[in-house]
């Protein structure tokens, strides 16, 4: 089976991209490879992902810097948070 990575976008990132969830196949091997893959297809989204306060989680754990992605990994990109 081809390895895949599931990418989730939240808040304004979803509006920038025009999608909420997408499967990347074949799977990028790292978070930085995923960012590069996104940059080739959507420069505006890639820029939004680099903007201040945007954080990434891999398998529901906040990523510090780059991270290795296993097959089937879930990657979430999250803009600055605001509840209440």
């Amino acid at each position: 089976m081809t390895p895949v990575v599931r990418v989730l976008l939240f808040g304004r990132l979803r509006d920038v991209a025009g999608w909420r969830e997408r499967i990347y196949r074949p799977a990028p091997e790292s978070l930085s490879a995923l960012r590069a893959m996104i940059a080739t297809e959507d420069a505006a989204l890639a820029a939004a992902l680099e903007s201040p306060g945007v954080r990434a989680a891999v398998d529901q754990v906040l990523a510090q810097g780059d991270a290795v992605l296993r097959s089937g990994a879930e990657v979430a990109f999250m803009p600055p948070m605001s509840g209440g």
Partner: protein
Amino acid sequence: MIRLVSESFDPGAELNRFSRGRTVTGAVVSFLGLARGESGQAVALELEAYPGFTESEIAAFVDAAIDRFGLQDAAVIHRVGPIPPGEPIVLVLTAAPHRREAFEGCDCLMDYLKSRAPLWKKEHGADGSRWVEPTARDLSDIERWA
């Protein structure tokens, strides 16, 4: 106890349930946030969460607040999805032996929810929609607890 709910809830019933049977608690503090409608401004709010991640992140912060302030218990109930003006968005409850700890714990938890919890808020107004990000005030509020 952390709950994300997509329907309106009864804050009084939640406060009663939280307070019941507490024989060694001297103080329960509650904060209720309402969806605020301003004329010509936001007509509805929409809250987005990351199911699973949002609850576990909030739960970890609540556990840390319980330790830090010496709380006996704390609860957060937060709406997700569309919220009409006047409806509850968030209820934070804290229980402690004495009031000061309960007030401070509740205040700290609200500051966290406004600027650090994985929740995203969109305002739908007469002139379109916009994502709300923490204000300078929100960011300085959470710094009070650093």
